[in-house]
Amino acid sequence: MQEDDPGAGLAAAVALRRLADRIEDSQVEQAMRAGWSWSDVAEVLGITRQAVHKKHAKRLIAAGVALRRR
């Protein structure tokens, strides 16, 4: 990281967040399509089952993913 350009460093932080969000969305979808449970996905992400369900369930249902029971 260049210490003389905080603008580039701040933009990098934004870019990393965007990347993490993009990967989380696609990989949660992939896991659920592969038949993972909400609990297993939550454990890997290090968040509660409720949190992962709240964040992704609606989108996955709309995408036609067959979800396992919570």
Partner: protein, 163 residues
């Protein structure tokens, strides 16, 4: 028809919202407004953008390049086009993001300075180009766009109420 297309609410609600949803973004950001403006076919605003080299496709590509370059600053080498995509939730309503609020504030300031009246697409473009910070100027610089010149043209169009 043109007045409808140029209605700010239409740009925001239809265009920018659709861009944010398609991308899986939690919020409608300034870059989504810019993408929506490039898609207003037949309007002066979209023509000015296209003449500066900014079509919907090239703007999208420039934003992806900015993303890649900013990731590279942190030592992450990623080709955005190769990232797996999530299925977008088209029923979701993303909130208006902070960058869009700033864009709107600047668009309104431009309209007020020009004597008021309804805000149109050209005002939004001025608002999008009014900052040196954030993803839009970074992406446009990477694409070799003269932001100042484009801003001046958009400003002139806004004064003429030619959106």
């Amino acid at each position: 028809m043109t007045t409808k297309v140029n209605d700010v609410r239409a740009v925001l609600v239809r265009g920018a919202r659709a861009e944010a949803v398609e991308e899986g973004s939690a919020a409608i950001e300034a870059e989504h407004v810019l993408l929506a403006l490039t898609g207003l076919s037949g309007t002066t605003t979209a023509r000015l953008l296209a003449e500066a080299g900014l079509t919907h496709e090239t703007t999208r590509a420039a934003l992806d390049r900015e993303w890649e370059q900013s990731l590279a600053v942190a030592g992450v080498a990623v080709t955005i086009a190769e990232l797996p995509k999530a299925t977008p939730d088209r029923a979701r309503s993303p909130q208006i993001g902070e960058t869009t609020k700033l864009l709107l504030k600047r668009a309104m300031a431009t309209a007020t300075a020009a004597g008021g009246g309804r805000i149109g697409a050209a005002h939004l473009l001025v608002g999008a180009l009014d900052s040196k910070l954030g993803r839009i100027p970074r992406a446009l610089d990477l694409a070799g766009v003269d932001r100042e010149a484009l801003r001046a043209q958009a400003h002139q169009a806004a004064i003429r109420r030619d959106h």
